[in-house]
């Protein structure tokens, strides 16, 4: 071997150098060396949110109506007007015009009485207002911590769902508490209402029994005005005929023919049930409600409270669905 000559041939070193460069680049590449989560770590409820178009029994009418509120809470329809409460306001929408009325407390629910009087839930108590939203009278709060989330009425009584105390207050027409409905009472076979989040709806049914959503159990229960529990319907399932998640349905409305329209959050769908709780069809799915974006993770009770829907029906049978996240009302009518 000649003095000064490189002992290792260059043809042997070159591939090693190239390999070293490749390894260095590969090590810096995310795709090759990073840990990856397997399919068992994916969370996918898309498959359950798909709606068979053949099941749609309602169609959207017109464009969504913007409420103009920052946090819309409840909707009511009647006498040619649409009422939406939210923020600290009552918005009255009529023939394209909108009027806003400031309220003394944060409104949480609204109902229209047969004579057009508005019954407003103002956090812990109810208030009566005329059709223009001018408050005529405040009723006393039945409990300091009450949170009124829904109102129903019959000829002699007004009922208010209280999400904090997990019961329904029955008032007479003067605003005095007559009795409580739905509180856990084993000897009367009342299992108690489970309200994990502030969605707790009620509706008066033509048979004179109050329908009460038990959201934590995914039931719609029937109670006499005296608080006797008669029966319930509803089943837990992510399938289209059931209710899923922690607390569904979040809203319910009774149609003039006795059928129910229910709204769900999480798996977003508005459905039509017969009086026995059998699914008739779908009023709207995520697509019809403009909720096609990826699933949203709420970060606070307030945000989670904005994920839901409220529904109302007018004399013509049109269903109004309030989207609390988009602050809009979509109108649906039967196909």
């Amino acid at each position: 071997m000649k003095k000064g000559k490189i002992p290792t041939p260059i043809w042997l070193l070159a591939p090693i150098a190239v390999l070293a460069v490749i390894v260095i680049f590969a090590a810096r590449s995310e795709s090759l060396f990073l840990r990856k989560l397997g399919p068992e770590y994916s969370y996918d409820i898309e498959q359950y949110s798909k709606i068979d178009p053949a099941m749609l029994v309602y169609r959207a009418v017109g464009e969504p109506i913007q409420t103009g509120l920052q946090q819309s809470r409840a909707v009511a329809a009647g006498f040619g007007k649409l009422y939406v409460v939210g923020d600290s306001k009552l918005a009255i929408l009529e023939e394209g015009k909108k009027k806003e009325i400031e309220l003394p407390r944060e409104p949480t629910c609204i109902q229209i009485d047969n004579d057009g009087t508005l019954i407003l839930g103002l956090t812990d108590h109810l208030a009566l207002a005329d059709a223009d939203g001018v408050i005529q009278r405040h009723w006393n709060a039945p409990a300091e911590n009450a949170l009124m989330t829904s109102i129903a009425m019959d000829k002699d009584n007004v009922y208010a769902a209280d999400a904090v105390n997990k019961l329904v207050w029955r008032f007479d027409r003067q605003g005095l508490v007559v009795n409580r409905i739905g509180a856990k009472e084993t000897r009367r076979n009342v299992p108690g209402i489970v309200v994990p989040s502030p969605y707790f709806d009620i509706a008066m049914y033509p048979d004179g029994l109050l329908r009460v959503v038990n959201p934590g159990r995914h039931w719609v229960e029937a109670y006499t005005p005296n608080g006797d529990r008669e029966w319930h319907w509803g089943k837990t399932s992510v399938e289209v005929d059931g209710f899923s998640g922690c607390c569904n349905p979040v809203s319910m409305v009774v149609l003039s023919d006795g059928n129910f329209v229910t709204c769900e959050k999480g798996l977003i769908r508005v459905k039509l049930y017969d009086p026995e709780g059998e699914l008739i069809g779908i009023v709207a799915g995520p697509e019809q409600l403009g909720r096609t974006e990826p699933m949203r993770i709420c970060q606070s009770p307030e945000q989670c409270g904005q994920q839901g829907f409220d529904a109302a029906v007018d004399a013509a049978g049109r269903v109004y669905v309030l989207d609390m996240l988009q602050n809009s009302v979509r109108v649906f009518e039967k196909k």
């Binding site: 989560l37 770590y41 489970v194 922690c246 699933m295 970060q299 009770p301």
Partner: protein, 186 residues
């Protein structure tokens, strides 16, 4: 040669100038040291309001087992029987059987409280911070499950590998004296 008044003034000026420079450098150094001693240490944390539970926390931490863990804000929890952070979307039964659990590592413990309420506790040694339960809870429930960097594990890297990979830009520096961003607290 006798010194002229002009010559003296120049020399004095130079001498004073050098002294002033030395003193200002020393002053600046002292001020910097003082400020540094007063400055609070910062640590990495996840802003729950920005976290999208993408799963990167489980895979991008320099630690083999991520420093990010799920934590539970009990004040926000509904104590649901059907907890969507605990159960798969369509559980066969509301039991603790592995097939019903959402977490692939069984890192959440379900404890009966009273009918029909259950408490859910994170088993930290099993949690890898994947965020699957966070998604389930936030999709249907109150969003009481969320991810946080646990500072008993975090190495405090100058450049956090998860922060670099975080698509929600949810990682931020917070004071070491208040290292957690707990949901539901103002």
């Amino acid at each position: 040669m006798a010194k002229t008044p002009d010559h003296l003034r120049r020399r004095d000026f130079l001498r004073d100038g050098i002294w002033a420079s030395v003193l200002s450098v020393l002053g600046a150094g002292a001020a910097s040291l003082f400020a540094r001693s007063r400055r609070e240490n910062l640590v990495w944390q996840i802003d729950p309001a920005k976290c999208i539970a993408c799963g990167n926390c489980a895979t991008h931490c320099v630690l083999n087992e991520s420093a990010v863990k799920c934590v539970h804000a009990y004040a926000m929890c509904g104590y649901c029987d059907l907890c969507t952070g605990y159960f798969v979307p369509e559980p066969k039964a509301l039991t603790t059987a592995a097939e019903n659990q959402l977490c692939p590592r069984a890192a959440i413990e379900r404890t009966y409280v009273e009918d029909p309420y259950f408490q859910y506790t994170i088993r930290e040694p099993l949690c890898n911070g994947c965020g699957k339960c966070v998604k389930g809870c936030g999709a249907f429930g109150n969003g009481s499950l969320f991810l946080q960097v646990r500072h008993d594990r975090c190495l405090g890297c100058n450049e956090c590998a998860i922060a670099v990979a975080c698509p929600g830009r949810a990682f931020k520096r917070v004071a070491a004296s208040a290292p957690y961003l707990i949901k539901g607290r103002a």
